[in-house]
Amino acid sequence: MNIALANISWIEPMVKIAKGDDVAHNIQVIIKAIGVPLAGILVFLMIWHAAASNIETSLGNFPGPSDVYEQAKGLIAEHYEERDKADAFYQRQEERNAARLAQDPNYEAKIRPYTGKPTYFDQIGTSLITVLSGFVLASLIAIPLGILTGLSPTLNAAFNPVIQIFKPVSPLAWLPLVTMVVSALYVSDDPTVPKSFINSMITVMLCSLWPTLINTSVGVASISPDLQNVSKVLRLSFMTHVIKIVLPSSIPMIFTGLRLSLSIAWMVLIAAEMLAQNPGLGKFVWDEFQNGSSDSLGRIMVAVLTIGFIGFLLDRVMLSIQKAVSWDKKADIR
């Protein structure tokens, strides 16, 4: 900053006197950091608005920004209504139980759970839980496997064909198989987790495994030979070698893989939920589509924006984790 200003002779004295340099500078920074993206969004909204009014569908006009905003408000209102109903339901139960207890001291109070329909926010919650379970499961498999294939060229040669073939498979192809296998293996009268959840989770896992696996493997295989020699001279045990040398040096590559995996997982999840009828955002979109009311397109558009925004947040969260665990604080991680 000072170097840049030094070229403009008349500013320097002003700066020295007023020290208002920071104010002007900050305004500039703010305009750059916020104003420009804001302008971009505004232009997008305008184009969207103009385009929407020209697209006629069987369910009415394609929703413009203001319709979508209304639908979003509607979904939020529904959520609170539903919560109020649930509260009222529990309160009634409690009152009834209290009354019974007063009559008969031996009465054992029972609380039945409220079984209203899930609200939009419940569905977001379900989606997040499903995607994170699938992603964690995928990482638990991919990172250790990636380390092994990275360490051993033989294992790598053995696994590589399998990886290359399964990597491009779409979730839509996996899902029927997963569904059948889960139905066959996961039998219980009172399942604590619904089958639709397991199906979606496993599909997500199968599709998001590969980037982490491949990147971990490449990262591990490219550890500096000097560090490997250090490990040899010290005769580190296999586990110490992995923990002290392999993991830290391949952290950047592992995270590159994890971030790719998570974004794939999130994309796959929506499709998986549609087909598996897991009560998350995917099912929301599907139900609205089947519903075909005049509000449906607007509500689907709310879901589209939500999905995009959550995907973005998930990546940011991974980025902060990566920054927190990375030993190279100077590295430009973005």
């Binding site: 000097d226 560090l227 040899k232 001279v233 010290l234 005769r235 030993w327 190279d328 100077k330």
Partner: protein, 279 residues
């Protein structure tokens, strides 16, 4: 004094995509306990290869190395290596780098407190007390090399192997480190094999200078005994006729007897090859 390290008719042939390449033949060297040996020779002649065979990082195709009566066939901490490019783990501090070595070598032999003291003692030896909790990217090249030396010394090796330990440093820093090393050597009297390109460094530090012929199929050309009493002082030695005599003998070997005939471009290429392959 007794022979601690015995290299007997050692040779090595590398299998390369273009066929086999004989790098070394018939290398014979007996090293006594507490001796300081320098290996000197033109780039690409096979100095690192000799060192790596002693370290156990490479396997000789014929002959072998015997240390303390036992044959060497894998790397181990009793033959600590100081690598040319320090090879510190960048995610650990200087202290933790030495700690990793101390913990693996003295597991079950030293208590926690003793280990801590030993780590600090070794960092003190190389004058790194002030920066021992800094990471490699926060300290200078010379300091990194000091930590690398501390790590190797902390293993209490039977032989200390150093591959151009000061090669990447500027002249002034190098002189500082050479002085530090002589001080340490006075105290510990380690057995050392050091590769160098620097004739002054070789004469100043060594008891014997081992001069290697040019490759391929390089071997030991001449061995020069340096009979200068210790402690040695670089300023006093500069005017010492014996010092200058040793110096000129090494120079004569390198630039008359083993004059490099290949072009500079080839030499560069060979050096590049060596770097990537040896590692």
């Amino acid at each position: 004094m007794s022979v601690i390290l015995d290299i007997t008719s050692c040779g090595i042939e590398f299998q390369t995509p273009k066929g086999s390449f004989r790098a070394l033949r018939d290398v014979n060297l007996k090293i006594k306990k507490g001796e300081y040996i320098s290996l000197i020779g033109h780039s690409g002649c096979g100095k690192s290869t000799v060192l790596n065979i002693v370290a156990g990082l490479l396997q000789a195709t014929e002959g072998g190395v015997v240390l303390n009566g036992k044959e060497v066939n894998e790397p181990g901490p009793e033959r600590a290596v100081v690598f040319q490019n320090h090879s510190l783990l960048p995610w650990l501090t200087a202290y933790q780098n030495v700690e990793l070595a101390v913990k693996t070598v003295f597991q079950g032999k030293k208590s926690k407190a003793e280990m801590k003291e030993w780590i600090e003692h070794n960092l003190h030896l190389v004058h790194m007390d002030h920066a021992m909790h800094k990471r490699p990217d926060e300290i200078s090249g010379g300091m990194k090399q000091r930590v690398g030396i501390a790590r190797a010394l902390a293993m209490e090796p039977d032989v200390l192997l150093m591959d151009e330990p000061f090669g990447a440093l500027d002249a002034l820093t190098r002189a500082h480190l050479q002085d530090s090393l002589m001080e340490i050597q006075k105290e510990l009297n380690n057995t050392v094999i050091m590769i160098t390109h620097d004739v002054d460094e070789a004469v100043l530090l060594s008891d014997r200078i081992v001069m290697m012929t040019n490759g391929p199929a390089a071997t030991i050309g001449e061995i020069l005994d340096i009979e200068l009493e210790r402690p040695r002082n670089r300023l006093e030695l500069a005017d010492d006729p014996r010092y200058n005599h040793y110096r000129s003998q090494v120079l004569q070997f390198l630039y008359e007897k083993q004059k490099k005939v290949e072009h500079i471009a080839d030499a560069r290429k060979a050096k590049g090859d060596a770097k990537t392959k040896v590692a």
